[in-house]
Structure formats: C-alpha cells, structure tokens
Amino acid sequence: MELFLQSIVNGTIQSGFFALAAVGLVLIFGVMGVVNFAHGELVMVGAYTVWFLHAQHNTPFLITIVIAISLVTVIGMLMEKFLFRPMRDDPLGGLICSIGVLFILQVAATLVGGDGPSKQVPPPFEGTMVLFDFLRIPYQRLFSIAVSIAALGLLWHFLTHTKLGWALRAVSQDREAASLQGINSNRISMIAIAVGAAMAGLAGALMAPLTNINPHMGHNVIITAFIVTIVGGVGSLSGAVIASVLYALYHTFVTTYFNGTVATISGLLIMVLVLIIRPTGIMGHRVSE
C-alpha cells in the first residue's frame, strides 16, 4: 500500500515538469502553427544555466532560476524574430530551422560543460519530508512541484483574465479570424514564444537539481511533450496540463510495477490509440485544413 501512495507522489511530482514543457510546446504550436523541435533544448539550456551559475559559481539558486528563465526567453524571442517570422507561411521550413537551433544549442552546451559524464547540481533544499512515517517527499521536489503549480496558475490567470491572454487564445483558435479583428500576429507570436520559452526555461531550472544534465537531455523532454500535446489535444492548454498529469501517473505506475521500456512502449501505443478514436486528441479542436 505504501508503494501505491509513494507512486502517486512520484507521479504528481513528475507531472510538474511534463506540464511546463508541454504547455510551452502547445502555446508555440497553437499560436504560431510551427513545431518547435528545439523545445527540449530550451529546457536543457535552463538546466545548464543553473548548473553553470549555481553549481560552478555559487550564485544563489533562486537568482539562477530567474536568470535561466530570462536567458531561455531571450533565445526563444531571437528564434521567433530571425527564424519563425520569415518562415511564417512555411511551417515545414520553421520545423527545419528549429532543428538547426537544436544542433547549435547542443554544441554550445558541450562547449560550456565539456564532454565528461552528466553534470550534477547539489539540491539547494536539503532533506526529505516524511508523512505518516512512510511517504517520503524530498524538499527539493516539493519546491519544484509547488513552483510548477504556481507557474501554471499564473499562466492560466494570464490567459483568462488579461487582454493579451485573450488575444493569444484567439490566435491559437483561428489565426485568420484573429488577424481580421486587427490582432497584430507578429506581436502575439513574440509574446507566445516568450511565454512558452519561459516555461521551458523554468522546467529546466527546476529539473536541474533532480536529474542528469547533459547536452542530450532535451531528447526525452521533447518526446514526452509530443505525447502529452497529442493526447491532450493540440491547441488546448488545459488538455496539455490534464494529459501531463495522467501520463506522468501512468508512466510512474507502469515503471514501478513493470519496467521502464514497457511503460514507454505502452505510452506510445496509447497515444496512437487516442489518435485513432479521436484524431484531434481529448480536448483538441480540428486543426483548420
């Protein structure tokens, strides 16, 4: 029974990272209609920033999180300005540009961190909270899930209660209709990628003390983000968050009770199944032809 409850805790904590990464991907795809293959690398840059500033140069952890978020946001905005904007009407071209950025960011990481084994960041919050003398939640993980929920809450508020948020959602529903109502799509795209990149930077920063940091950690992030985006329904942020929690719990339980590879294979097959039954995902709407 303890294992069951512990797995629920493990799964919820993991869903925090999945949600932050997936929400960023959905926002960028929903608003700009381009698949950002370099999204995993944005998360990696967030993690490397925390490793380089905090682990190597002792900058306080909270400040490095802010720096990580702003650095990744700047990278995202540069990508929008120089790559995605010229490729506005050619999503495939945008996809290839993002792959180009993927290679460049990975090499930048090897230059910064060298080619040795994966990097580690000692967790700033020591110790573990023990509930009912068997449920163990390390404080660092508690911090990460708390910040994830707070960030998602902030995003939800921004999207539902601010003018900019409305514009973002309008563009993600129907880009042509939105531009008819005079919404300047370039400015909106810049905001969308800024918010999406910030989320990715935050996910990386929160993951840094909890996982192996290496130039290729982005690969797993992008696969999970794709699965969650699809199952949740493209263009639907709430779908992505719900799917993140479901997939994280599912993957945790199957890994605990069976084996990791079985978890991933079955996760992928479930995704294909969802696409067969509802080709637009649980919450999604049909992407306009």
């Binding site: 290839i96 540009c97 180009g100 950025v101 460049i104 493209v234 991933t264 992928l268 637009t280």
Partner: protein
C-alpha cells in the same frame, strides 16, 4: 519536345558513368562514404514517394530498420542467401506498413506526423526490449555478405557496384511510378483531396499505396546497408537519422524528383568535409540548415532555374543588343 528528353537522358548517362568510375579515385574510407550515400539516395527518394500525397511521416527510418532486421534474421536464422532475403526484406517492410495503414491514415497533418513518430518509436523500442530475437541494443551482428560467383562483397568497390546497380533500378522504378498515372493521382490527392475524391479517387487507398510502396523500397535500402556493415542496431534507425532524412528532402526541395537527391548528396558531403571540427560539427551543420532554409526557400532544386534565370537574363540581353 524530344530535344529535352534526349538531353536529359544523355545527362543522366554521363552522371551514371562518372558515378561508376568515381570510387577508384577516392581515398579508401571515402569509398564506404560513397556506398552509404548511394543507399541514402534510395532512402530519400522512397521517402519522397511517401510524402507525395502531402503527408509528412516520421516512421520512414524505422521502416528501413524493419527491412534491415528482416533481412538480418532471414539470412542468419533461416540461412537464406542474400538474393532471397534482400527482396523479402522489402516485402516485410511493406507488410508492416500495410498493417499500420489503418491506425495511421485516420490522422492527417500534424497528428499524422506525431502519430507515425509514435508508432515508429514503439517498434524501435521493441527491438531493444526483446533480446530474443532482436538482440536488444547491440542488435544482430555477423550478418553474412552476399555471395555471387566468387566476388568478394566485403571489399568496398564490388559492393559499391552492387549497390549502384540495385539503387539505379529502384530509382528508375520510382521515377516510372511518379511519372505514371499513379503519380498523377498522388499529386492530385496532395493538391485537393476532396476534388480527387469526388471524381472517383479513393484517397485512403492511394495514401496507403504510396506508404506501402515507399516502405518496400526503404526496406530494401535497410537490407543493402546491413549486409555491408554486417551489424544492425536500433540506434542506426532512431529519430536522429529520421531528422536527417527530413532535412535532406526539405532542404533539397520536394517539388522535383531530383530535389531530394541533391539535398542528400550536398548535405552529406558538407557534413563529411567538416569532420576535423569534431564537437563543433553539428553546430556548423545546424547553421547550414538555417541558412539554406532562409535564403533558399524553394530548396536546392531551385538553384538550376535560378541560375538559368540569372544567366538567361544575360543571354537575352546579349541577344537584344
């Protein structure tokens, strides 16, 4: 206009002869590079057929792996000779593709892209998971090379000619398909599926036909590769390789038949030239990608027309003066 037809066949003839004598001038290990390049040309052209109907699939690399594993298992476990396991490898890839048609073709556009990726990754992970018979991450090794008379197919030059002949035949078949009535209908499905449907084209059948045929040819390419290296592993067909196929086709240009070939050849040669930069090589490759997409949106294939237009204008000016 037989003029252009003759000029085209002569050009292809010269190219073929040049390609046939090229390995003798290359340094030894570049002969291997040439073999894998010619095999990759078959991979990109078969991918072109799959994407003719406008659907971008991310399963093509895994289909190559299905052919590779098929041929490896047939030749090792069942003891079949290369000349039997090689065509069967294409058949196995085609059958797997046929089985996947139902789930995959209910999806379109972005969902098909990611759905095909998921199905492919599930197949690839099962190679890792089931040690028997796939051998897990170290895969299958000591795959026998082809036997014919007493030609030593372990040497690069004889194997190069084997690959060149087989790939040329496959390219001819693929060219015939695209220029045939089937190709015309696939283009029609791409440009306006609803109109094609209304005049009797069953778009589902034609998308499946393109997918199955493309998978057949890439399965052959997979078999060709592993019977030279002698070992097949899941890593050879991962998303990394699939990304390269995507890059070659898109940067090369997907409006003409030779666009993808141009992309594969030019980008692979560039990648090999930057070998000394070691860890910096992927970054240079990334920069080339971005540069070619931003400043050559219609792909490398548009270069000849663009150059003709530039030179053409000069000729016309000369005529006028």
């Amino acid at each position: 206009m037989p003029g252009t037809v003759i000029r085209k066949t002569v050009a292809i003839g010269i190219l073929f002869i040049a390609l046939a004598i090229l390995p003798h001038f290359l340094k030894y290990h570049h002969q291997d590079f040439l073999i894998f390049l010619v095999i990759n040309v078959l991979v990109v052209v078969s991918y072109r057929l799959v994407t003719l109907t406008g659907e971008w699939s991310l399963i093509h690399a895994v289909m190559m792996g299905v052919g590779a594993y098929g041929s490896a298992l047939l030749s090792k476990q069942a003891g079949l000779s290369f000349w039997i396991s090689f065509p069967l490898a294409g058949g196995i890839a085609a059958i797997v593709a046929a089985l996947l048609c139902f789930p995959l073709f209910r999806m379109t556009q972005f969902y098909f892209l990611i759905g095909s990726f998921a199905a492919g990754e599930a197949i690839r992970l099962s190679w890792i998971h089931f040690i028997k018979p796939f051998g897990g991450t170290s895969g299958i090794s000591a795959i026998p090379s082809p036997e014919l008379l007493d030609i030593d197919f372990l040497e690069p030059i004889p194997y190069f000619y084997l690959v060149l002949i087989i790939v040329t035949i496959c390219l001819f078949l693929l060219f015939r398909i695209e220029k045939s009535r089937i190709g015309l209908t696939l283009h029609a499905v791409h440009w306006k599926a609803s109109l094609a449907e209304s005049i009797g084209v069953n778009t589902w059948n034609y998308r499946s036909l393109a997918f199955i045929t493309g998978s057949f040819f890439v399965g052959l390419a997979g078999a060709l590769k592993v019977h030279y290296i002698g070992t097949v592993t899941p890593k050879q067909f991962d998303i990394g390789f699939m990304v390269f196929i995507l890059i070659w086709v898109i940067v090369g240009g997907y409006r003409t038949f030779y666009g993808a070939i141009l992309g594969a050849v030019v980008l692979s040669v560039l990648d090999e030239m930057f070998r000394e930069f070691n860890e910096l090589r992927p970054a240079i490759y990334g920069a080339i990608l971005i540069f070619s997409i931003l400043y050559l949106p219609a792909g490398l294939e548009s270069l000849p027309q663009r150059l003709k237009r530039v030179f053409g204008r000069k000729d016309r000016q000369m005529e006028r003066t």
